[in-house]
């Protein structure tokens, strides 16, 4: 049989295998809706917060009003009992807490620095940092108003007084993910992982069955025939995810199609060659499912995307490139969301090409007929 013949034969095997169809075509489709669902609103709009006002004064109530008006704070309870915090935390009802200590008003009047305590539950980092930011802004805003009044009361002109307030402002502009969406940041990386994992599991399922039946095709023609079929399947999934699914989720997509296609081809070749190696090593149909399902989470975090690569241990910083997902995640995100050209992702492209070559050489060796 020629390479084309083997490729066709592989297609036939797939379409006779419900399990393989489900994983190679169905799983990606389902996951493309299922995975982004929790992040549908993209933002943490309201963080449940408890406000402890121990001062109960004109000033503390002014600050409370500002806190109530903060866009992302959802003040669940206002109390003067600090012990209420513990109860609320224990019940898991609040994620952040703000304490205005007694003496707040008198400190302000006396010209001392008045302190506000803000804390968040460290287990919920995202919600906590949002609450800290909002509560800090509200307190600083009140602080600015107090400063202004105080300076004016000391006889300074408005202009002089303004100069004493925040003379430096930092204006942050978000590029590439304009609304700072959580899903917009994480899901495009997870898509790469889904494409790879469904292919690896689908292929090991299909080939594991052939190994059990002692019908696994061997020889380099068979190898390249299978590689061709699996690469086309991976490419179909990749195009679906980065053109259709990305559009459906309203994620930005500013890359050129040519760049995306070129990078996709080398990525899909690479994961197909990877799948063929595992397909030869796993001797039963279910082995891939058993071993690979659980590896997705570590693969995502070792890539250096959502957890900064600069903070990985040195060995992992380099070793992470041995996984196609690492180059895939950085490459696809750069092309689709940052608008990178092929030159901008030359490193990822080069790593994937090298990995592909090595894996094909290993694959040809593994699929030599005499080894069966």
């Amino acid at each position: 049989m020629s390479i084309w013949g083997y490729s066709l034969y592989t297609w036939k095997l797939i379409f006779k295998d419900k399990g393989a169809i489900l994983l190679l075509f169905g799983a990606g489709l389902v996951y493309s809706f299922f995975y982004p669902l929790p992040y549908h609103f993209e933002q943490v709009e309201s963080v449940p917060t408890i406000l402890v006002d121990q001062d109960n004064s004109h000033s503390s109530r002014a600050l409370s009003r500002l806190l109530f008006a903060s866009p992302n704070l959802d003040i669940k309870q206002v109390t003067d009992q600090a012990s209420a915090i513990e109860q609320q935390l224990w019940r898991g009802d609040v994620m952040a807490m703000i304490i205005i200590p007694s003496g707040f008003h008198t400190d302000l009047l006396a010209g001392r620095v008045a302190e506000v305590q803000i804390a968040s539950h460290g287990g919920y980092l995202l919600a906590g940092s949002k609450a800290l930011k909002n509560a800090t802004e509200a307190s600083l805003m009140m602080g600015a108003a107090v400063s202004l009044q105080k300076a004016q009361s000391m006889g300074l002109s408005t202009q002089q007084a303004m100069a004493g307030l925040q003379p430096i402002r930092l204006e942050t502009r978000s590029l590439f993910n304009p609304h700072d969406g959580y899903g917009h940041s994480i899901v495009p990386a997870v898509m790469v992982l889904i494409i790879q994992q469904t292919l690896l599991i689908g292929v090991t399922l299909l080939l594991g069955r052939q190994t059990e039946l002692k019908q696994l095709p061997t020889g380099s023609k068979a190898y390249f025939g299978m590689l061709l079929t699996f690469t086309i399947i991976a490419l179909l999934n990749t195009m679906y995810f980065f053109i259709v699914a990305t559009q459906l989720q309203h994620y930005s997509k500013i890359g050129h199609f040519g760049t995306l296609l070129a990078f996709s081809i080398v990525f899909c070749l690479c994961i197909s060659a990877f799948a063929l190696i595992l397909g030869r090593l796993f001797k039963t149909r279910e082995r891939g499912l058993q071993l690979l399902l659980i590896t997705s989470v570590p693969m995502l975090f070792v890539s250096g995307y959502s957890w900064p690569a600069e903070s990985l241990p040195d060995l992992l910083y380099y070793a992470r490139w041995l996984l196609p997902t690492t180059s895939g995640i950085h490459g696809f995100v750069s092309i689709n969301q940052l608008g990178a050209s092929l030159i901008d992702v030359w490193w990822e492209f080069g790593v994937l090409s090298t990995l592909t070559l090595v894996m094909i050489m290993v694959g040809i060796k593994l699929y030599r007929p005499q080894r069966l």
């Binding site: 929790p38 980092l125 204006e171 570590p298």
Partner: protein, 389 residues
Amino acid sequence: MAAFALSLKRELSHLKKDKGDLFLTLGMMPLLCVFIWWIFSAGQPDSLPVAVVDYDQTSISRQFIRLADAAPGIALVHGSIDHAEAIDALRKRKVYAVLVVPKGFEAEVFSGTPADLVLQVNSQYSTYSSTIERHLSGAALTAGVAIGLERLQMQGIFIDAGLAMAMPISVNATPLFNEGPDYEVFLAATLIPALFHIIAMILVVSAVGRELRDGTAGQWLQTAENSLAIALSAKVLPFFIVINLYSALFIIYFQQLAPQSYSGNILNIWLTMVLMNSAAIAMGLLIVAATRNFRMGLSLAGFYSAPAFAYSGQAFPLVAMPDAAQYWASILPLTHWLQIYNQLWMSGAPMSAVYQPLAILLAMLVVASGLGFWLLSRFAFKPESWGAR
């Protein structure tokens, strides 16, 4: 008792023969747990590269840049680059933010008009951008107060009064139980239980699924003298012991790793984790009993458990999710256990405070194992249910 011993022996001799299943039972979890811990062992994002474009080139601008450079989480990339080059570096991911000091910065500071700094961040890489923004806004605030103070002093105001005037309200902001914020506690310690949640399901689906696949289910039941209860408990016992032992090691290790973050009683934490593992095993049992197909059971267990962390509300809070996602989250044992993790282990709440998630986990365990048991006894021991791939 003899039936139980024989059944257990049958399980162990299978593990001895099947190296893949043995690795899955014994080797996989320690490997992945150490790997996850290792990834996050630095604890905090560090030395994130930021490009500086200083159009002002004055002593004030240089002073600010030095102050910013001292922030621990970021590493400023100096060198004379213009803005276009910096944005290019941003796109190439050589830097993750560009700090622009506009021309006239010093002049504005001296003239008393608010001077603006511009920070452009790659917010697609959101951990980078939020960390950088946090450090640089801290630096801007500090520099601002220092300058404001100096200015008020020049106008003849004493330093104490000046400080109260420049910053009348000071904000003391700390994350509780996790000062830092430390990602070892935030991510590693919650991702590892998510892996236990997955492996518990894979193990039970594998152990029961292979009997159905190989058509040995009848033999399995016979060994247990036709008692499904004995057959199942002997089947589950080996990996039940293994994963709960590993869970204990995980809890003890993280407790001593970050003692300042955890205030709960670790024995209680472990007991609740045993309950989560059991609920996950029960869910896996239900899945394999309902499908009676090893491959389909694994696929479904994977679909159910692999994205569980995303749904659990730990990284992205439940309150911010659409209703459909919250419903899905509520049928995952992990969601309820992470609630216990936050309340019992981190906040140090008494057991009575977490009765609700405990009751839910217990209900999951009882309902899923009961239903799974019934489905197995009713359908799994007929030869026509065997051999499905």
